[in-house]
Symmetry: C2
Subunit: 138 residues, 2 copies
Amino acid sequence: MTLLRENGGRATSTRRLLLTCLFEDASHHTADQLATKVQAINHDVSISTIYRNLYELERLGVVVHAHLGHGAAMYHLASDTHGHLVCEECGMTVEAPDKLFTGLTESVAHEFGFSIDPRHFAVLGRCARCSPNSVIHG
Amino acid sequence: MTLLRENGGRATSTRRLLLTCLFEDASHHTADQLATKVQAINHDVSISTIYRNLYELERLGVVVHAHLGHGAAMYHLASDTHGHLVCEECGMTVEAPDKLFTGLTESVAHEFGFSIDPRHFAVLGRCARCSPNSVIHG
DNA sequence: TTCGATGCAAATAGTTTGCATTCTA
DNA sequence: TAGAATGCAAACTATTTGCATCGAA
């Protein structure tokens, strides 16, 4: 909130509520899920306000969003950034430590001068359960 | 077309046209771009028919689509599959050889039992030109 | 008392679907 | 001529925007 005020923003009740929801459950939420949570307390909050506040909070570095395949973007606290592995079949999501991507990051940087951001878009695939080879694992 | 017929499908003029467009320029196209190309010859073709045909062709293994970040999906011939590196800033796309991902694929398989598909969703980042470090390269 | 924040509705992009009609096999 | 394919419009999901109003500083 201090950060908001410092940047010329205003500490409205909706913002307070949204931040509370984000801190209460630090996992991933869609804008819609957050709206529902906020609306449970103040049911006059519109989804556009949620989007506008999420945008503002992201600009201030408080939250980040990631695209986990098809469907809505997921928002979470910026303090807890990581990549994602998402199963295209069942939707299961694994938080992937950044070091998993260091190899790829380096070779892509070398070969293409490209600096990849493994956090903004998930890496899709099949989880052990849904993979065609999963039979060998039981 | 033979494949279509073999699977109980019918060889309509629109399908012929769509396939021609796909083979003529084997790069990436959005459904909308394909529709425009097809409509240049037969302007009564609707976008839904394009989507339905692309879906069918994908089911038969003739085309595949990939998500290159925000925006519309890109369709291309299945004979030419590869991953993609996409610049989040300027949108530039690099076709990434599959071998680039073998390291990541293997470690993810080991650590999470996850078999990743680097082709369906692009890997996002910044190209050399748009990267904050690009100054050192000129 | 100004100017940022909000609610609401409508616009947007990309894609899918319902339904009556058309055309291939 | 049966049933697949199509055109059109409308629905749909996720997100953004215009605008009048409200409220924090």
